[in-house]
Amino acid sequence: MTEAAVEAEHVVVDSVVRDRIRVLIITLAIAIPLIAWTLTQMSTLAFFTQILNGLSFGALLFFLASGFTMIFGLMRIANLAHGGFYLMGGYVGITTTLVTGQFWLGLLAGGLVISCLGLFVERILLRRIRGMEKPEVLLTIGLTFVIGDFSLAVWGGDPRQIEKPEYLKGAFQIGDSFFYPKYRLFVLALAILLGSFLFYIDRKTKIGAIVRAGVDDRETVAAMGINIKAVFTGAFIFGAFIAGMSGVIGAGFLSLLPGEDFVILLFALVVVIIGGLGSLEGAALGAVVVGLIDAFAKALVPELSFFTLFAPMAIILMVRPNGLLGRAS
């Protein structure tokens, strides 16, 4: 490598680091006064409860957003049916658990049924319009309406929850006076597990290398003899699987009802808009931010709890149109 090239590389790395630092400063500048104000509004104990609420909801959002962002990064498809996948996966899980009495079977069934649906959608529908950004998005939103209506026809309009196994019921005691629902802690742990797994796959394995290369340059990857179509299908099915599974997980502490598909989609979208489309770290960061904002908003200003998503999104979009960790298009 010539000296100039080394120098150029330094400049690039420097600018990336400086960029990350700027993101950090912006985040802190907004977060610290908010935290200070929040602490004046509630007790420390309530504050930590809300932190955990936010993180566990953020964990659920990470499940959804990671699949969404991976599909987008690889295939350039914004799969709006992700909300529908979540809802229907949850319903399938509820029914399976009711029939078999096994929570884990429900979890698996939710994921598997939705990945079959994903296979159908990718192979039969999306393949016909591959590469046309907007028709793809519009097709997936049409699909969400069909899935939502189908779910309404099969499972009805009443809010539904899943039957949790005994060991996930009740509260977990920390110290003398701090109780927190076990299930939410379980969701948090699951998300950390999945997150580590995804990062490991992404950074350390050949599949991850192929996927990352596919995100950067699909044509070259295909030219190197990798079956990029199979990679696409695999990624889509995997994303659908996580979405279906997250529906079952969500059914344990949120209710499933018609319309919830679009609500959860909104949260997932805000996560990827804030974090940056196509970036796994972005999905994780966005999920934490959105989860926390939502938890505190619900506790402090319940009437405005949707609107509170608006403000950070607006600010971040004005400063960084591609999200916190998104790359410039």
């Binding site: 987008f72 350039r76 914004a78 709006l80 529908l125 016909r128 319009i129 590469g131 046309m132 950004e133 907007k134 028709p135 998005v137 519009l138 097709l139 939103i141 049409g142 699909l143 969400t144 309406f145 069909v146 899935i147 939502g148 209506d149 189908f150 309404l152 026809a153 319309g259 679009f262 609500v263 989609l265 909104l266 979208l269 805000v270 990827v272 808009i273 489309l277 319940p302 009437e303 405005l304 709890s305 949707f306 609107f307 998503l309 608006f310 999104m313 607006a314 979009l317 004005m318 149109p321 591609n322 298009s329």
Partner: protein, 345 residues
Amino acid sequence: MSMIESAGQARKALPITARVQLAMLAIALVVAFIFPFLASTFILRLVTLALVSALFAMSVDLMAGYAGLVSLGHAGVLGSAMYGVGYVASKTDGGFALQLLVGFAAGIAASVIFGLMAMRSSGVYFILITIAQGMIVWGLATLLVKITGAENGLPGIRRPVVVETEFRYYFVALIVVLVSSVGLFIVVRSPVGFALKGLRESETRMRMLGHNTTWLKFQMFMLSGFFATIAGILLVYLNEFVNPTDVIIASSALPVLMSILGGIGTLIGPFIGAFVVVFLRNYVSLEIDRWQSIMGLTFIFVVLFARDGLIGAVKKHWYKYLDSKGSGPAALAATEMAAPPLQSG
């Protein structure tokens, strides 16, 4: 065939097309003014709804079809105007003028906020941001009980006494929609309209040419928002009611469906699409309670197989007919005038 020859043929073909278009427009206008004397109140109401939906769909198509920026949250603008009117009518004792003023201000304010947020993005990112915007308006509508009445909505909105009947209100809607359509017609043929088309073809090239595309997109939001606001005010007085179902995502997706179904990137397309969708919805709902599925399936079908919409199909056959008579436009003119492809940009 040389280019000059084919261009000459196109010029010869054009007047026929234009004459047919004018004749059809005249017939449509005559029908529009005569049929209310023959139709039932029910049909009249449906047609009024179709007219208002058409205006809304055209405002969405200004973005989706002309500028290539699909908004899936425009019901947020429409709904803000509706809630503005509804709030004054339902929660205060403000008169008609104040209702209009607040409704208008709310719609324009929503456009400004939406525009500021989305003006720097494009493509899929733009769609995602607009979805979030629309959903957040829905969230406010369901949660701000004191202002929006949540699920119960805002009752007690009344049309002014002069236009109280469905019959008279139809003419109000017709005239407002016609005037707005002329306004939109002028917009799409203005420099801004052409710049928007440039945005659709290539935003990078537009920027290279020295256009401030961010400002252009903001202008687009304001223009589109202006007409969506008018549609919202017409709609709230038509229904005399507003509740969160007016701002659900399906309400934002419908005008997009209308545009594609009729022919995206034209003004007449959304108009025709609106009539098809409104009547389809009404008659489907009479038979089965599965409108959402029908809408979703129509979306999928249109996107997969009929991206040029009805107008595209008619144009294709019309040109084929002209070609068979020897006066048809050659390939050059045909590609110039065919409905723009949805996938560009």
